[in-house]
């Protein structure tokens, strides 16, 4: 029974991802992506990793996707963006990457199919995860925190420069002088 559930949710995840990446409208694509993440969360549940599924939903679907929403709204990619996206979809563009990823897929499947058939399904509770998290992996946690801090500072630093309104932003290193933009 669960096997069927697993196959359904993975099919959903796959189709949602494909749709997410082929939409011309960014917002639609985002929604599909969120659906795909939720499907993956379901798979986590089926695998017996409830804590991971929760995290997936809270952080991945919740936090990261929301960031995306903010940015899309901020950049208000309206209809003209969508138009341009569509005329770029002619086959010459995606035939190359599609071919490449197909080859890669075939290779991975070959490699994976040779593996011994291990069975998943051992339930790992959040307590076990917590114990190992602060047991052998305590260093990893510290590093992760530093990484997040770096991400925070980076995002602040990079994002801050975005001053549409005040032209006399004295601290802006990247002030108006280099307007040459793309070559």
């Amino acid at each position: 029974m669960e096997l069927v559930l697993f196959y359904i949710s993975s099919a959903v995840a796959l189709f949602a991802t494909v749709f997410a990446l082929t939409r011309s409208n960014a917002a639609h694509a985002l929604i599909y992506l969120i659906v795909s993440l939720l499907a993956v969360a379901v798979i986590f549940f089926l695998l017996g990793a409830p804590f991971a599924a929760a995290l997936e939903i809270v952080i991945y679907a919740g936090a990261i996707m929301v960031l995306f929403v903010f940015v899309i709204m901020m950049l208000n990619l309206g209809e003209e963006g969508e138009e341009r996206e569509r005329q770029r979809m002619h086959p010459a563009v995606w035939i190359g990457p599609a071919l490449l990823s197909a080859i890669l897929l075939v290779e991975m499947i070959i490699v994976l199919s040779k593996m011994s058939d291990q069975q998943t399904g051992a339930l790992i509770t959040a307590k076990q995860v917590g114990i190992s998290l602060f047991g052998p992996y305590v260093l990893a946690v510290e590093i992760a925190s530093m990484l997040l801090l770096a991400g925070l500072v980076g995002a602040y630093h990079v994002g801050r420069r975005f001053r549409l309104s005040e032209p006399d932003d004295q601290s802006a290193v990247v002030s108006g002088d280099d307007k040459q933009g793309g070559d």
Partner: protein, 104 residues
């Protein structure tokens, strides 16, 4: 509820499928937003593979690594989106092909 018996290979194949789709998206989409989304998909599929392996070996390591992946993904997205704002302001478009000043 306790773990349900799913063959690891199948989960890994799903992860591979997701990864490849993300990769293809990364390659042929021009819009930087879509590239970032494709990136997220690839990270997520990696996380899936880790968690699946973790549950297969009944070890918590898989999920710990998954958490690290989450941390990485979060940091990466925040900086990425910051950059997206810069690209928008600097190049007035989100098409990544315009931003190619660093060429040979």
């Amino acid at each position: 509820m306790e773990g349900v018996v799913i063959p690891l290979n199948h989960v890994l194949i799903v992860a591979a499928l997701l990864f490849v789709t993300g990769l293809a998206g990364l390659m042929f989409r021009r819009n930087v937003i879509f590239i970032l989304m494709a990136l997220e998909v690839m990270l997520n599929s990696a996380g899936l593979a880790f968690v699946a392996a973790g549950t297969a070996w009944a070890e918590a390591d898989g999920q710990v690594i998954f958490m690290l992946i989450l941390a990485v993904a979060a940091a990466e997205v925040s900086v990425g989106l910051g950059l997206v704002l810069q690209i928008q302001r600097r190049f007035k478009t989100l098409d990544m092909d315009q931003a190619r000043r660093l060429h040979g």
